[in-house]
Assembly symmetry: C2
Homo-oligomer: 432 residues x 2
């Protein structure tokens, strides 16, 4: 039987809208996967009158007490940010016997222990995955997947704005000012970027995650914070020359019984798991004494990724209360995509005799099957068989295999190697 859960949402900004969208678009898939029927019952926002006009099936109020005082609401989601009234809303929700979900990193970093202590005392659940790393399930990884580990250190790229700026500086040879401007144009930086570029935002996040990892109260003021405004492209260039990249890292580790916690620009070797995290992406690397280094990478901000984290908190709170989870739900047997519908790019290495007209014959066969060539490498070689390297555009595998049969049948062809190419997805970068 499905479990109905009524949600009250306080704050209908970017993330609030994302949660609303998610619950509309993916309500059924969540129900199917978990048996949980999530219902957004009430929204509270100061712009209630405007919001009301565009939404159906949900009550909108401008008074948050309409949510905390509603007996039918099981979980209160706080998305307004800042200390007050967010703190009062969360505490009052706990007092009313509700569970809470928040994305409020400032509140948790600066006054989290009071919230946690109240939750514990009242046996209320609190979810805050969205407060650190947006759509990356990094809180859950720490509380769940790594629960058997003593955490030795945490290193994180915890701010997308600064990572975007540093990536632009490195890859496009921009100055800090130019890269900041680009970030602002793309919506990755605020008009006043201080909070991000000075490392304050990253410090909030490393504080929260370190509290959880080391079970210690951490005073936000005690965290050393240094931003990226003094980084110049000259340093990025020299770092590259020595095999390093510069990232703004949040770092914390336990040294005996003392915590070393700070945010600053850091050089890391190009083979470091965080070195390849580009653009606005965030990442966090935990080192556990059992698991070793575990790195999670994804979008650290934005409406949809943050909504993903909020809803995962809601579902997990319901699952832990109701004890309704524990086995995968297999609804039906899969249908398999036939090869003639499978689309991909291909790399071909064809070894042929060194004769004239060969490229034209091979490309002719590819053309017959409507396979276009993206690039070719053919080099002069001092041997009987020369390699011809072809990268194609996307084509159906079925066609590719048929073309390969014809190519292999040519008497001037010795061997053909073919490798599928996966790309064209959005991982924060349109590289072609």
């Amino acid at each position: 039987m499905d479990t109905v859960v009524n949600i009250g949402l306080v704050g209908f900004g970017t993330v609030g809208e994302g949660v609303y969208q998610l619950l509309r678009e993916n309500h059924d898939i969540i129900l199917q996967k978990t048996g949980i029927d999530l219902r957004l019952k009430k929204i509270c926002d100061l712009r209630a009158d405007d919001i009301k006009k565009n939404l159906t099936g949900v009550t909108v109020s401008s008074d948050w007490k309409d949510i905390t005082g509603d007996r039918d609401i099981d979980i209160v989601v706080e998305l307004i940010g800042g200390i007050e009234p967010a703190k009062s809303i969360l505490l009052e929700s706990l007092n009313c016997g509700k569970n809470i979900v928040t994305a409020n990193k400032k509140l948790l970093a600066e006054e989290g222990t009071e919230i946690f202590e109240t939750a514990r005392r009242l046996r209320g659940k609190i979810g805050f995955e969205a407060a650190v790393g947006g759509g990356i399930p990094c809180v859950q990884a720490l509380k769940g997947g790594l629960v058997g580990n003593r955490i030795e250190s945490i290193n994180g790229i915890l701010n997308g704005t600064t990572n975007f700026i540093l990536t632009m500086m490195e890859e496009c040879d921009l100055s800090f000012g130019e890269a900041l401007k680009e970030a602002q144009e793309k919506g990755f930086a605020e008009a006043d970027p201080t909070f991000d570029v000075e490392g304050y935002d990253a410090a909030h996040k490393i504080a929260i995650i370190s509290m959880l990892a080391f079970n210690r109260k951490i005073e936000y003021d005690k965290i050393g914070k240094e931003g990226i405004t003094s980084i110049s492209s000259v340093d990025i260039r020299y770092a590259q020359e020595m095999g390093y990249v510069i990232k703004l890292l949040g770092i914390s580790k336990m040294v005996d019984d003392e915590i070393d916690i700070r945010v600053h620009p850091t050089m890391i070797h190009s083979t470091h798991p965080l070195a390849s995290v580009r653009n606005e992406f965030n990442a966090i690397m935990y080192i556990g004494d059992m698991a070793g280094p575990v790195t999670l990478t994804g979008k650290g901000a934005g409406s949809r990724p943050t909504a993903s984290a909020v809803v995962s908190d809601i579902v997990q709170i319901v699952q832990s209360i109701q004890n309704i989870e524990g086995y995968p739900i297999i609804t039906e047997t899969a249908n398999y995509l036939p090869a003639d519908k499978r689309l991909s790019r291909y790399y071909l290495r064809v070894h042929t005799l060194d004769e004239p007209g060969i490229l034209s014959k091979i490309s002719g066969v590819l053309g017959e099957y409507k396979i276009s060539i993206a690039s070719v490498i053919q080099q002069e070689m001092d041997c009987d068989f020369v390699p011809l390297i072809i990268m194609t555009y996307a084509a159906y595998e079925h066609d590719m295999l048929a073309a390969l049969d014809e190519i292999r049948a040519f008497d001037f062809v010795e061997t053909v190697i073919f490798i599928r190419v996966e790309d064209s997805i959005d991982w924060g970068d349109k590289h072609e």
Copy 2:
């Protein structure tokens, strides 16, 4: 009050020993973090007599019925692998009202639906994080963190042996045979490597994770499997030239209502999140419709990482049954590491007048503070102030800051930039 949980362990091989070690070393930290008192009550292994000699505080038997029939055991951990008797042990455990944890990828990939169906019918919990990706919490990320998402695709480096071989081929210019030999010497490949290099192991894992992501029964035989034995370093070289790397990927995605699922060598662009996953590391990239791409990287095998996954399953099963979790436990206020105990390497960029003897004066100051220089870049420049780039060995920050004050005081020094360098940790590679 603490919750006592009795564990029965079937199979005392590498992973079994890891679980035993973990429960000894980290019992107290788990208790402190979660309030769960994990006790390894019984071990079953055919070599019971040998094992008994080296262990204390735990019963060892050679008959698995001693575990399934023990009323005090709450959770049975199956670590013997293969179909039988593993399947009988798991089904019998469920029948006896126990919850189960398994690392058995073959069983779950080939007969998982029967196990899942039985668990669901009997309302038993099943944990199988250790079956996919070793210490990487990738099952949990899918079930928990991404539960609000429609999963669009999964791409994974799911086999450490083949990733190690491909990395060696790429970075050390070895042939497949040479790289395989190196993998065997390092213990990353079996004497008979067929199961790994032909993609069968990766296919088991992509089957399990796809079942979970798409809620479909997947027949292992229907998965296209192609190994890496035909990959030559020539192809790796050409791929590099075009900006790509070759990885053995497990791939699955839903195309309308059909699943495209396969394992084969794949070219991915060097900026792809999986391109930088090196050596024996595993990684999995989920693309969710809300969260976007989320990538998890870590050690995919080995005694300690796999034990970490097993224990995380145990804890989560207990938490979901007992409803005993939901707030971080803050035990005390942190003590902070003072700067004179903070150790790091440093990058310095010093702009000086172009005069003789300057390097000796600056290195003299560093020497006074016992800071050794690892490398220096000084280039001829056609301007008044020339940059001197210094990379130091590890030194205390306190000393570094004092040395910087002295260096800044020289009248030939214009500006000094200093950036901390983080490295020297084990992320699968000793790069210096």
